[in-house]
């Protein structure tokens, strides 16, 4: 039983990690806690649902499962399009709301605006799709036994994809010119600007990377759990817990933080009634802020 909880924890932790990477980047580069970030997961998940519907309408065969997985190429293509659409929405929200408040308003006003934006996005989705859950596919999957643990092929896919995306992001941040510029802006925007970095362009990159990661995380959540309008709302605390645990701005910290949150949530049910599971990330946040506010991987200030 313990090992099963560990396996489930790693799986949900991987999805949280992917979402938390974008959140930690926003907190570091845009310098505000974006409560609307997790709504981008919901947005991505539901837009992929719409795209899957499109592809299936075009050609039924696209929906056919790939190997042992529950989904077909339709979902893969839909996830890519959903990533693009979610990035576009994030850029639009920045243009219409956040960019106008940046600079002249106090930075907590940005946090506040993100609160309002989250409410808007969540309820627009609720209006469009209603409160009932959706699934990408109705295919039944046969669980695979790995030692004492049962896992679905989809879950292995989720883990593999997350690992690949984290490695790609690592290479981007260390090798590419834009990645190095992003890290420079994260540390010292003014010095980056006078060195010749177009900080506005870096801000747009941050939104694009964060929103794409969020959309993929949302699709993976929809794939392994289900699509609900409160999908993002229920992930606000886990994502913040992962970002704060890892040390705000630390990419690898967010990944480890996500795994810690996923594992703690799943293992908690062995000690406390499962009804309290959603409070676990909050307890982690309180504990880390009391004892190590710079996070596990942050440097003390």
């Amino acid at each position: 039983m313990f090992l099963q909880h560990v396996a489930d924890g790693i799986l949900s932790g991987a999805i949280i990690s992917l979402g938390a990477i974008g959140l930690t980047l926003t907190m570091r580069i845009l310098r505000f806690a974006n409560f609307a970030h997790s709504e981008l997961l919901t947005w991505g998940a539901y837009s992929a649902l719409v795209f899957v519907g499109f592809f299936m309408a075009m050609d039924e065969a696209l929906g056919g499962p790939i190997g042992p997985l529950s989904f077909g190429w339709a979902l893969v293509a839909a996830a890519v399009l959903a990533g693009g659409l979610t990035a576009a929405v994030a850029l639009l929200l920045d243009r219409v709301v956040f960019a106008r408040l940046r600079g002249h308003a106090g930075h907590m006003t940005l946090v506040f605006a993100s609160f309002g934006v989250a409410l808007l996005v969540r309820n627009v989705i609720l209006m469009g799709f209603g409160p009932d859950p959706f699934y990408y596919s109705n295919e039944l999957q046969i669980a695979v036994r790995v030692g004492a643990v049962r896992v679905m092929p989809d879950q292995i896919f989720v883990l593999g994809l997350t690992a690949v995306l984290v490695v790609l992001l690592h290479l981007f941040m260390t090798r590419s010119r834009t990645g190095v510029h992003m890290r420079a802006v994260a540390e010292n925007p003014s010095l980056a600007r006078t060195s010749g970095v177009d900080v506005d362009a870096i801000v747009r990159w941050t939104w694009v990377i964060g929103a794409t990661g969020a959309a993929v995380a949302g699709v993976l959540y929809g794939l392994t759990v289900q699509l609900r309008p409160e999908l993002g709302f229920s992930l606000i605390l886990p994502l913040f817990a992962a970002a704060i645990l890892g040390g705000t701005g630390s990419l690898y910290g967010a990944v480890i933080g996500g795994l810690v949150v996923g594992l703690s949530e799943n293992l908690s049910v062995m000690v406390i009634p499962s009804g309290y599971k959603p409070a676990v990330p909050f307890l982690l946040i309180l504990a880390i802020l009391y004892f190590r506010p710079q996070g596990l991987f942050g440097e003390p200030r």
Binding site: V180, R183, A184, N188, S190, A192, T194, S195, G196, V197
Partner: protein, 252 residues
């Protein structure tokens, strides 16, 4: 100095349009010339340099580089136009490696040109070449100042703006940095620097300006300024200089 590279005239600038810090300051720097700005605290020395670097809004006057107006150019466009700026503090990216810091310097360059410049930087600052993959926050104060200079020089600027380059450095290291500054001018770069350590800075400068309360007070050859008795009164602290208002309480 009609052929000056940088010519600032009547610059009015500040963080708030209704209360400028500079009230019409003028200054010139020629190619191959080191010019130092001195003055008491709050005179607007750093503000002048930041206004030229595009970090402080200029509400009146002009700043010309080789005849072209550059006032209020967005700060990130200036390196491409040949202006480099090294701030007083936090002038390296501590979480980045030495080499990544130099890559930041190459931001205004096309990708292909960068590699050659890095080699030149490591040749000029061997101490950085030895620490290429170290994080910049482990460097000593002097090495950081070298790295900041090296980064600013990667795009081969025509004008370099230095805000207190020797602040916080041991006297021997400070002298080393100032000698480097002199060496830059020998290569044809125009240098405009702000210094608290006025005597040492004037020692390597060609000319100097004295600012007091956001206005030009004095200008001339560096040696003359250093010898000027008035000067000691103004900012070397022989008697209390310009009286500053006592700090006000937080709430009014």
């Amino acid at each position: 100095m009609s052929g000056a590279l940088l010519r600032a005239e009547g610059v009015v600038a500040g963080y708030r349009p209704d209360s400028p810090i500079l009230h019409g300051v003028s200054a010139e720097v020629g190619r191959g010339e080191v010019v130092t700005i001195i003055g008491p605290n709050g005179a607007g020395k750093s503000t002048l340099v930041k206004a030229i670097a595009g970090l402080v809004a200029v509400s009146d006057g002009s700043i010309r580089l080789a005849g072209n107006e550059i006032a209020n150019t967005p700060a990130h466009r200036l390196p491409a136009r040949g202006v480099a700026y090294v701030p007083q503090t936090d002038n390296v990216f501590g979480t980045l490696t030495v080499h990544e810091n130099l890559r930041l310097g190459a931001a205004p360059l096309p990708r292909r040109a960068a590699a050659r410049r890095f080699d030149a930087a490591y040749a000029a600052f061997p101490v950085l070449g030895e620490r290429r993959d170290r994080k910049a926050h482990v460097l000593s104060g002097g090495q950081r100042q070298m790295l900041a200079l090296a980064r600013a020089l990667v795009p081969e600027p025509e004008l370099i703006l230095l805000d207190e380059p020797t602040a916080g450095l041991a006297p021997r290291v400070a002298a080393e940095v100032l000698a480097l500054v002199r060496g830059l001018a020998a290569r044809g770069v125009a240098v405009l620097m702000v210094e608290q350590n006025a005597r040492a800075a004037l020692g390597v400068s060609d000319r100097g300006y004295v600012l007091v309360e956001g206005r030009n007070r004095l200008e001339g050859r560096a040696a003359e300024i250093a010898a000027n008795a008035d000067l000691g009164a103004v900012f070397l602290g022989r008697r209390p200089p310009v009286r500053r208002p006592a700090p006000r309480a937080g709430a009014g």
